[in-house]
Symmetry: C2
Subunit: 222 residues, 2 copies
Amino acid sequence: MDGSSFPLVRSTLPEAAAERLRTLIIEGELAPGTKLNERELSERLGVSRTPLREAFRMLAADGLLVQLPNRGAQVVAMSRDDVRDAFEVMAALEGLAGELAVGRVTDAEVEGLRALQAEMDAAHAAHDLPAYYRVNREIHDRLNAIAANPVLANTYRALNARLHALRFRSNLNQAKWDKAVAEHRSMIAALAARDGAALRDLLIRHLRAKQQAVLASMDNKT
Amino acid sequence: MDGSSFPLVRSTLPEAAAERLRTLIIEGELAPGTKLNERELSERLGVSRTPLREAFRMLAADGLLVQLPNRGAQVVAMSRDDVRDAFEVMAALEGLAGELAVGRVTDAEVEGLRALQAEMDAAHAAHDLPAYYRVNREIHDRLNAIAANPVLANTYRALNARLHALRFRSNLNQAKWDKAVAEHRSMIAALAARDGAALRDLLIRHLRAKQQAVLASMDNKT
DNA sequence: CTGTTGCATTTTGTATACAATATGCCAGAG
DNA sequence: CTCTGGCATATTGTATACAAAATGCAACAG
């Protein structure tokens, strides 16, 4: 238990500020379209404007903010077209992750996913939606890890962050929930069978359902 | 010819600095692994350190630089695995672009691409490699534009920038050149025929050839 | 010789000041 | 009434100053 081989985790204020802002955006506290006032936010986050501006650059690169010269930064408000475009790319990335995972998965990893699926079933049966979301996320993260392509994982992460705020706010009714759980079961079966085409197809269909849910909740807001 | 409806193009120093640094990296003047000294670069580019640091954040987001806390920024040196990972994702994105383009292309756009193909043939026949590269890039940009998915285009652009420096330095011999020209011809034929699967396959094969060229030139350097 | 410590210098991170641009409001002209 | 111009203020962009961390080198101990 010697700490000498355990390097300290280092961070900088821009990184911390970006993370904090990302959360505020995803949770809707900084709503789409909100203009970000540097002075106010720097006071609120307790940092000077310099690291805050660097944080803005990071979030703009992730597509969460838009920056126009001399007009500051604004939270991106995704249009229906933006959503469609993002889901199209997400589908390609998830499909790729599925194909890669099929070629790279170990039996132990399959067992791990089966255990997660059991957790998902339990959460579903107990109507425990937060637990369901947590396991859902864990399953997708695990798939990405099995795909073992960091470029893919990072590209997906940035894109997913944009959609996350919207998905956070879209509804999940019982029929959709039942269907999603069944889809996860099929996905893990396809992975265990090392059937790349099937897994790819299932991941894309699953994502299409999410897309419909997001677009439907955007309709309700308009 | 009234300029009143023609807004001035605005930029900021971080954006200009990022663009300049991107070029320096792609052309190899800032070689992979180079540590970037803020004072030197700010003098060289004629800007203060603040916009330069913002530019670093932008380039880091594109994967061209890596930033470690208190150790500044360094030009990314892509390993063979990085190259493989990036090409894998690029293939998925190009395949998607091909499929989307097939569904969205107009006859006029097909004619435009045929004209570009003729230019490419002429450059090839005249052994004019710079012109060939220019047209090659124009064809791929045109395909992306036809796909009409800005998220895809931006994702592709960031990823492509990482590989651009490596591709810039990889060799193109006569046999490969002949093959690449023929492949472009086939791509445009598939697009004209609205054959999404064929175009997807051709784009991915084409990219695989580029990947081999890049990896081969990395071998020569090691 | 190697390894450690101390210190000066350099570099990076952040705060603050200054400059440039945008915004909002009021007064005046038509 | 609307539109325009002028001005004060606020905000954003950038430069500079200060603080913190890293690096390099010399001296010393073993």
